[in-house]
Structure formats: C-alpha cells, structure tokens
C-alpha cells in the first residue's frame, strides 16, 4: 500500500470512526429521551420561531422528553397524515382536518384525549368547543382555538348612501344594490368560490332554519328554509365582484383592504389585516354580529371553525405527547399563540379569552369592540362538517356534536353548494333548478357513503356531550 493510499485510508477510517461515534452519541441521547413527533403546517418564520421557543421551554421543564418538530404545508398535510397511517408510521401530534376525523376515529387511528380536558377542567372551555365523539363519548381531537365569522361593512359608504346598519337580508340587499358599481366598489364579498362559499353561505342557511343534514344522518337540505337561503344568497352574490367564483382564501381580504367591496362576512383575520394594512379603511369600517335572514329573524348562529389537534394511536410515548399538547394549548402559551392574529384565533379556554382582551397592543386598544364581537360569536358558532344537524326542524339552534361523516364528498374540492351558486351566476341556471340538483347531490353522496360504511348508525339522540349539560 503506497503512502498516499495509506494516508487516505487512515483519514477515511478516522472520519468513519467519528461518524459512528456521533451517530452512537445521538442515538444514545435519543434513546434516553422520549421523542414525540409534532407535525404542523405553521410555516411563517414567526410561528416556527415561537413554536421552537415553546418546545425549548417544555424540554427544559421535562428533560426526559424531546419534541421533534416536523413542518409540512397546508396542501400536503392531509396526504402526509393519510400516508403515515397507511404505512403504519408513527404519527405523533398533528392538526387534524375536519374531513378526516370520522374515518380516522372509526378506524381507531386516534388516541383518546379526555385526560387533557380533565386536567384543565371541562368547565374552563367554551361550551361546544370540545368535539366529543358521539359514538363512544370520548374525545379524540383537542381544540386549541376557534374562529367565528362577523360582518364587516364600510360605514362611510353606507352613510353617504343613506343606508342603515346591515342587520337583515333586506338591508344587505338594499346596500348591495345601491353601492355596487360606485367608484369601482362591489356591493359585497359574498363569494361562490370552491374555497370560501360554504363558509359564507352556511350562516344564511342556518339563520333561515335550514341545514344540510339532520343529526340522525338524514337529508335536511330539502327544507323550505334551505331553499330560501339559496335564493337570498344568490341574490346577494350577484353584487359581489365578478371573479368571486374563483377566489382564493385571501381574495376577500385583499378586496376589502383595497377598498373594493362594501361588505364582507369573514372571520377575524379580515379585521386584523385591514387595521394593519389599510388603517384609513379600518377607521371607517363597522363590525357586527351577522344577521342575514329576512327581517333579521332566525336562530342566533354563525359560521365558525374549530382548530384541533390529535395524537396518532401509533405514537410511542402517548403520555408525553399528551403532556406537550396540554402545555402548548393552555395558559400563557395559548394566549401568546392567539395574539398572533387576535380575534381570528380565539382561544377555546374562557379565562385565556378574557386575558386576551386585556392585552395592551395597538390592535386590541383600537379595535377592542371588534375582537369582543368575535369572541362572543364563539359562544354561538357552528361548523358545517363538525356539527351536523344543529338546526332542528323547529328552527332552534341546538348544537350537535355529530360530525358529518361524508363531508369530504359534499364539502371538499368542488363543494355542492359552490357548484350550485357558480351555475346560477356563470351559466344562468335557474335558482330552482340548481337548488334541486344540489338537493339530489347531497342525497346521493350521503346514500353512497352509507352504503360503503356499514359502521354508521345514528348516535343516541339523547346523548348530551360533556360540558354541554
């Protein structure tokens, strides 16, 4: 062996030894620590930095536990989770999409999380924010925060046109008609896009005494109230910007910020963005509870959403995973998280909500009333896929915790109602005809899903979820 070759061999051997040593050290460290994977779609540098700081704080307080932060995108999250369960990979803590909950829970992919709520105290949560599984009474998704839609409107434009506060369908329509086309402004931002239509339309549906399905899994979209809601929403949609059928999640906000729409029904992010990016528009903007049925009648209910986290049943360290989840979404940590977009992220814990209003930040100082309105709305919010059949046939809002198991068939991709409103707006399909087709589509999707999923039986109608007695 030549000197050069021998030297090279020695260097290679040293490098190999070092690599093996480092690997062994890392493995030993990992073996000593109980590692919990945490998959999140939070991708902004501020959010990631905040999460890393919280992980550091948790690990310092619990030296035997390590949290492995795994980042993904919103678009990839569902497929990544689905693929993990398909190949039996360890699934730690992850934000779970509404549409996945029924299949995942029924298949036993999720760990019960009742003990986290027991530790915090169920009485501390906003009623209806915890989504107990009605078939066995356990909790498989832990709620971190809520959001609820409120109505934003341009007070300056309304006053100039002699219009009153938009507190009923009639006033919404009158304002939309009068303001549409004035100085490049559209009447409203009630969209028909695949991404945003359902969230805007459901408030009309519920306040008109309609619903998609009853809590026993039978069709409700054929009720007269649903028909009325479709007619009213279509009438308003005619005064929305012409491209609203293809809007993404930020287009309504951008349009309001740019002063191009007179009204928008949106969660708290809109107010926060307007205040930050267009303070001159924020100063002339009003915010109120959405009342969208005729005469302002109908049950007190608005669209809202629950952000919740689950732990996979394949997780290697279940108790440690629960500890971290509880740590992350309670107390000061939850408050700091909610302060990232105050009002849009409404904490699910009552005292954290109260503390949020006491924070001394410019937004809370100047727009406290907006945030209060939104936080109050989290006490009467409803979510279409999570709360199936909350509107009774007697037109009462009795929050159901039955998830809509076939939500992915009627709400995802091109939701049935989005298609209906797009057909009305884009190809002039008569409302009656489009509505009848939508009723059929809802019925067929439900029947097909039931035929493929024999496990589904309506949950006990007398079951009252914990925290809602």
């Amino acid at each position: 062996m030549s000197a050069i070759t021998a030297g090279w061999a020695r260097q290679a051997a040293s490098a190999l030894t070092l690599a093996i040593g480092l690997t062994c050290a890392a493995t030993a460290d990992a073996q000593q620590k109980k590692i919990v994977p945490f998959l999140t779609a939070e991708s902004s540098p501020e959010s990631v930095a905040q999460l890393l700081a919280l992980i550091k704080e948790f690990e310092a307080a619990n030296p035997g536990i390590g949290i492995e932060l795994q980042l993904t995108s919103n678009d990839n999250r569902a497929s990544r989770i689905i693929n993990s369960v398909a190949v039996g990979d360890e699934l730690g803590i992850f934000e779970i999409e509404r549409r996945l909950v029924p299949d995942f829970t029924a298949a036993g992919y999720l760990l019960p999380l009742d003990s986290i709520v027991d530790n915090i105290g169920i009485e501390n949560f906003i009623p209806g924010s915890l989504l107990y599984w009605p078939w066995d009474g356990h909790l498989y998704q832990f709620t971190s925060d809520l959001s609820a839609g409120t109505l934003y409107w341009r007070k300056d434009l309304f006053e100039a046109a002699g219009l009153g506060e938009p507190d009923s369908f009639e006033r919404l329509l009158e304002a939309s008609e009068k303001l549409d086309g004035q100085n490049g402004v559209s009447g409203n931002a009630f969209e028909s896009s695949n991404r945003g239509n359902v969230q805007r339309f459901v408030t009309f549906l519920w306040q008109n005494c309609g619903d998609f399905y009853n809590r026993d899994g039978t069709l409700a979209f054929d009720r007269p109230g649903a028909r009325q809601a479709v007619e009213d929403y279509a009438a308003l949609n005619a005064f929305a910007p012409s491209g609203n059928h293809s809007w993404g999640s930020l287009d309504a906000i951008n349009s309001f910020v740019a002063g191009r729409v007179a009204m928008a029904l949106f969660p708290g992010r809109l107010g926060f963005q307007v205040a930050n990016n267009a303070p001159e528009i924020a100063r002339v903007t009003g915010n109120r509870e959405a009342r969208v049925a005729r005469g302002g009648q109908g049950p007190r209910v608005v669209y809202g959403a629950v952000t919740s986290y689950a732990i996979g049943s394949t997780v290697r360290h279940p108790e440690e995973a629960k500890m971290f989840l509880e740590f992350l979404f309670s107390g000061d940590r939850l408050l700091n998280y909610a302060m990232a977009v105050p009002g849009h992220i409404a904490p699910a814990i009552k005292d954290v909500q109260a503390r949020l209003l006491e924070q001394d930040t410019p937004y809370i100082r100047d727009y406290r009333a907006w945030v209060e309105t939104i936080l109050e709305a989290t006490t009467y919010f409803n979510a279409e896929a999570q709360n199936m059949g909350s509107i009774t046939e007697d037109c009462e809002f009795k929050k159901s915790l039955v998830p809509m198991p076939w939500a992915s068939r009627v709400m995802v991709g091109e939701p049935v109602t989005s298609r209906m409103f797009q057909e009305i707006a884009l190809i002039d399909r008569p409302v009656e005809e489009a509505y009848a087709a939508a009723v059929d589509a809802h019925r067929v999707a439900m029947e097909e899903w039931k035929a493929e999923n024999a496990w589904f039986t309506p949950p006990d109608p007398n079951w009252v979820p914990p925290g809602m007695q």
């Binding site: 299949d103 012409s242 491209g243 740019a258 797009q422």
Partner: protein, 314 residues
C-alpha cells in the same frame, strides 16, 4: 475493445478460454456498473407502476386502505364516465394551447436573443428567471395580476387603456384556460428559448451570407435556412414538453383548483379529485393507467412524425 480483444486472441492457444473469461468479466463489470441505476429505476418507477396497475383492480379506501377486489369494474367506470372524457378533452385543449404558444413565442424569443443586441448576456440570464421560479410562486403572482378587484391586468385594461368599463373575468369559464396557458407560457418560455438558441448558435453564418448574395429575403432565409436548421430541436422539445404538459398538475390545478365548474379539471386534476375527494385510490389508479396508455400512444405518434421530419431534412 473488440478490435483489441481480437488482436490479443491471436497470441496464444488458451486464448478462447481467456477471451470468454474476459468477456464474462467485462459483462459482469458492466452489469455491476448499471445495477445501481437499474435498482433505483425499479424502486422508483417500475415498482410504483406495478402497484398502481394492481391497485386499479381494487376499490381502495384512501384513508383506511380497506381493499375490495372489483376486477375490471374501475376501468369500465372510467371509460363510461363523462367526467373522465370531459377531463381528457380539456387535457387536449390545454396541451395544444400551451404547446402552440410556447413553441411560437419560444422560437421568436430565441431569434431575438440570437441577434447582436446590447446587453445580450444579461438579457439571456434574465430570460431564465421564470423557469427558476417555483410553480406556486408563479401562480400566486399571476393570480394577483389577474385579480378582478386588485389586479394590474384589469387596471391596465380599464383605467389606463380604457378598453373596457368592466373587469375581465380572467377566471371565468370562457377565459380561465387561456389564463392558465398564459401563466404556463411565462414559466416555460425560457426552456424553449434556450434550447432553440443553443441550436441557432451552431448555424453556419456562411449559409445566410450565401443566401443574401443570392438575394434572399429575411422571410426566405428564415423559412429555408433557419427553420430547417432548428427543426430537430423543435421536434424533440415538442415531444418532451407535450408529454410533460399532458401530465402537468401544479400549473393547471393551482390557479383555479380545477374550477370554475370543472373548466380546468384536466386528467391529472381529475385523478387527484378521485383519490383524495372521492377517496378511492383504486379508481384513481385505473384513470392513471388509461392516461398512461394515451400518453404512450401520443408519444409514438410524435416519434413517427419526428422520424419522418428527420428523413425529410436529411
């Protein structure tokens, strides 16, 4: 190698055995050298293709992976589905639109960049920029440009040029495919331009000089000298880009999510919808298999055209 080996065999009586041994050794060596590549190909291409083919005979729940053997039923569903044929028709329109615009503009841009213009190196570098931009970023920028409320395109048309009093619905059913083709043109134009430019730079200047002496016009020089010269590259680009465009997902799906009213649902977008919205991997695999056959047919047609064009050029 063969010549050397043949020369060596004349040297001694045990040569045939040694030669066979060498040949075996060479073969073994060659096999060992290509084995890693073959293994990678099998792992990332052949195996998934076999799994997809096998999956197409089952109904498979996307979430639970529960399987039921259904035989050819998935294929029958695909071929009887009006949604599939609508998606296929849209795929053809999208591919034809994207290829035509990219080819014409790509050749045009390459001809401009071939000229002795000031700052040519800088412009050539700049031209590559759109190709380097990730699809999602490109789409977000173009969505903003085409926005009906805050977009610069409508601002130009309405407020600057006064061509219309109402915003153009770039994402309306009648316009959306054209908008997607424009986005794709912006992104892939550099790809075309650079390949054609590389070929143009090998064009002997004497040909144009001789043509000029003979009194050829600019058009005649392009038609009878430049175009035949770049044609082999253009045909190869057409073959490759057509296959890619037919399979394109992100640049078609991201701008409008397959809508409105399904007007941008091409076959790949349809496959995604079947797999992740209808929740049936088996059905989606059957659509993918049908698409594979169609792309294979298309590719063969192209290669037939390519061979004919090559023969005629020779």
């Amino acid at each position: 190698m063969t010549t050397t080996e043949a020369g060596t065999t004349k040297a001694g009586g045990a040569a045939p055995t040694r030669k066979a041994a060498w040949r075996r050794s060479d073969n073994t060596f060659a096999i060992l050298m290509i084995l890693p590549a073959v293994l990678v190909l099998v792992a990332v291409m052949v195996y998934p293709a076999i799994v997809a083919f096998e999956s197409s005979f089952y109904r498979i729940n996307t979430v639970t992976r529960a399987e039921t053997y259904v035989g050819l039923r998935n294929y029958i569903r695909v071929l009887e589905s009006p949604q599939f044929w609508d998606a296929f028709r849209r795929s053809l329109i999208w591919t034809a639109g994207a290829m035509t615009t990219q080819m014409i503009c790509g050749i045009g841009l390459a001809l401009i960049l071939h000229k002795q213009i000031r700052g040519r190196s800088f412009v050539r570098g700049l031209v590559l920029f759109p190709y380097l931009v990730p699809a999602i970023v490109a789409v977000l920028v173009w969505r903003w440009i085409f926005s009906d409320t805050v977009g610069i395109a409508n601002w130009l048309i309405m407020d600057v040029l006064h061509l219309s009093s109402r915003p153009i619905g770039w994402f309306d059913p009648n316009w959306v495919m054209m908008s997607v083709v424009i986005m794709s043109l912006w992104k892939y134009l550099p790809y075309w331009a650079l390949f054609v430019l590389a070929r143009l730079q090998t064009l002997p200047t004497e040909l144009h000089e001789a043509a000029e002496i003979d009194g050829a016009t600019r058009w005649q020089k392009f038609r009878y000298i430049t175009l035949p010269w770049i044609m082999p590259v253009v045909i190869v680009l057409l073959v490759l880009r057509t296959i890619w465009a037919f399979n394109e997902f992100d640049m078609v799906y991201l701008p409008a999510g397959g809508g409105p009213l399904g007007t941008t649902t091409t076959v790949p977008v349809y496959i995604r919808s079947v797999a992740f919205e209808l929740g049936d991997i088996g059905h989606a695999a059957a659509v993918a298999m049908v698409m594979l056959v169609m792309v294979a047919v298309l590719t063969n047609v192209y290669f037939w055209v390519y061979r004919r064009a090559e023969r005629s050029l020779n």
